[in-house]
Amino acid sequence: MTTKELPAYWQPDAECLDREELAQLQLERLEATLSRVYRNVPFYRKYFDDVNFDTDAVRSTDDLRRLPFTAKRDLAASYPYGLFAVPLREVVRLHASGGSAGHALVMGYTRNDLKTWANLMARVLVAGGVTKDDVVQITFDYGLFTGAFGVHQGAERLGASVIPASSGNSKRQLKIMRDYRTTVLVATPSYALHLIDAMAEAGVVANQLSLRRALLGGENWTEEQRQRIEQELHVTATDNYALSEVMGPGIAGECLERNGLHVFEDHFLVEVVDPLTMERVRPGDRGELVLTTLTKEAFPLVRYRTGELTSLIPEPCPCGRTSVRMRPVRARSDDMLTVKGVNVYPSQVEEVLEGIQGPEPRFQLVVDRPQTLDEATVLVEVSEDVFFDEMKKQSEFRERIVRRLASELGVGFEVKLVTRKTLDDAVAQGGRVVDRRRK
């Protein structure tokens, strides 16, 4: 549908930087980052001292290999501000993401961080073919999550017209999309698919809309889904990679070649490691994505294990950007689930149930996508007395779990109570998590 377009960049000097100059810049930024985290973040000082790592001895970005990894549990243990590298009064924005041990992970941003973030997101948008003349409808949830605000700032920086539609209410979304003449849809892939179904129901056809681009992210999707979205919505759909702990959206994004996501290497050092040996894999091989921030002021991270499986494409891209590309993330190396765009760990569910039922709750998480939207159910084993209690008490008990799960995890779960031993076979067969969305 679209003909070959002229390459456009938001920050051409940075995006098309000569690889050798990039290496120099990465080294300078890495050295400054290591000096700063060692000086300002007690966690990193201890971490480096424990392995006898002298930040002054760093001579190349390869020396990073001698450092341990930062894991999600380290972030949770530092709740809320333990890993900040600047005093709180220099932080102008806070976001949070699902964590473990009962705590969300809290991320801080200085004024400079927000500026950098907006520019990097603008890079993603421009790479996906968005211009300042576009009308961008953002259907992510505006709140503690980084997605909506991240894209919002980038689109504003670019100069596009931004509609902060937020999530949900497909009818209203479609009305806005048609009446405001939205040209760019920003959504999770599953929500884009859901909108396609909603259009059919509402009798809206793509020709009535002005859409031309879709920037999709926040969850794993497939090429088949991309094709369907592109055909049904008459758009070019590009993928982008977001991770709240590292920044949010704006870490990597596809260009119109739609063949791998350009990682913004001048701001993030990318490694791919074997999740078992934790050694770097050979270029192009699959492994877990590990990111080090190079410019973040408030919340720098060194060798952060993303838990996401991908591989790098070292060959240059015809679009002219010189950065390495990563293949779209299709799987994780741990048990994290993405439900309706929100990250959920089974351990979080366990903690909620423990708080209500006492130690060792027995449960099974079932996630399904009957049509296009996620449905998550928790099956909880309860003792006979609860089960045969009056209906009122039983439903009160169930309601309590529903509310607690929603408030702790930030996403709604259906809760079903089952009698003792019911889950034994089910858990033995399927494990504590059954994800029927994976085929």
């Binding site: 400054a32 000096s35 700063r36 005093p87 220099e90 200085t110 004024r111 410019t295």
Partner: protein
């Protein structure tokens, strides 16, 4: 233009610079800011070959200059305006400027010297007015202009300035920085070392913050001006002290 990787410099047992890496692109004004004793002057002296590094690489236009003598470095187009001016007090202003042109004579470009002298007089009219005076009789600001003029007489492609604002009244200081901007806009690449972080970053494209021999921050001048750490480096305040005020 200039690329430094992992520079270590020590005076005897005392390490002054620790794995300093930085670069200056052609046409840029780059500022290195930091408190007294952070290693700024040592860095410039190492680039010009007055101090030998213990380890690391320095490349000028892609050419390794770690083992190059100071005269050669100057001949390659790298001039330093030293801290405290260091003009030749008992020589006239004009002779001071002609001293700066010695590499031009050696390059066989004697004919261009006269024009260069006029160019420097154009930049600093006060020097022309005082051309026959002894340099020692000039005011601090005028001596700084003379030191800059002398460096420019060598037709440098990279001009390095060490604390040009030192000991100057605010108004004079402003003039000096304005002149640095003008020199840069005429195509000269500038590496500027300053304690006065704010003034330096205002005329710079990019900057580095040097603290006790390490670069702890780098970025565009605009970013650094907005960064509280720059204030801290300049004031020499400790971050722990700052964080005590945190709720």
């Amino acid at each position: 233009m200039l690329r430094i990787r992992n520079l270590d410099v020590a005076y005897g047992p005392v390490t002054v610079l620790r794995r300093v890496s930085l670069h200056v692109n052609k046409g840029e004004v780059v500022a290195i800011v930091g408190a007294n004793g952070a290693g700024k002057t040592t860095l410039l002296k190492t680039i010009t070959g007055l101090v030998r590094p213990r380890a690391g690489e320095i490349a000028l236009e892609g050419q390794d200059v770690v083992r190059t003598s100071t005269e050669q470095t100057v001949a390659m187009g790298c001039s330093l305006v030293p801290e405290g001016r260091q003009v030749f007090a008992s020589m006239s202003v004009r002779d001071n400027l002609l001293m700066g042109a010695h590499v031009q004579y050696r390059r066989g470009k004697k004919d261009e010297v006269a024009a260069d002298l006029q160019r420097v007089y154009g930049l600093f009219p006060v020097l022309e007015k005082r051309r026959d005076q002894f340099a020692g009789t000039l005011s601090g600001g005028e001596q700084q202009m003379l030191a800059m003029g002398r460096a420019l007489m060598a037709r440098p492609s990279l001009l390095m300035l060490d604390e040009p604002s030192m000991g100057l009244a605010p108004l004079v200081m402003r003039d000096i920085f304005a002149t640095v901007s003008r020199v840069a806009s005429e195509g000269c690449t500038v590496l500027l070392v300053e304690q006065n972080a704010r003034s330096a970053l205002k005329i710079a494209d990019r900057g580095y913050v040097l603290e006790t021999g390490r670069i702890v921050l780098q970025g565009t001048a605009e970013e650094l001006l907005a960064n509280q750490d720059v204030q801290r480096a300049y004031l020499g305040r400790d971050v722990n002290e700052e964080q005590e005020g945190r709720p």
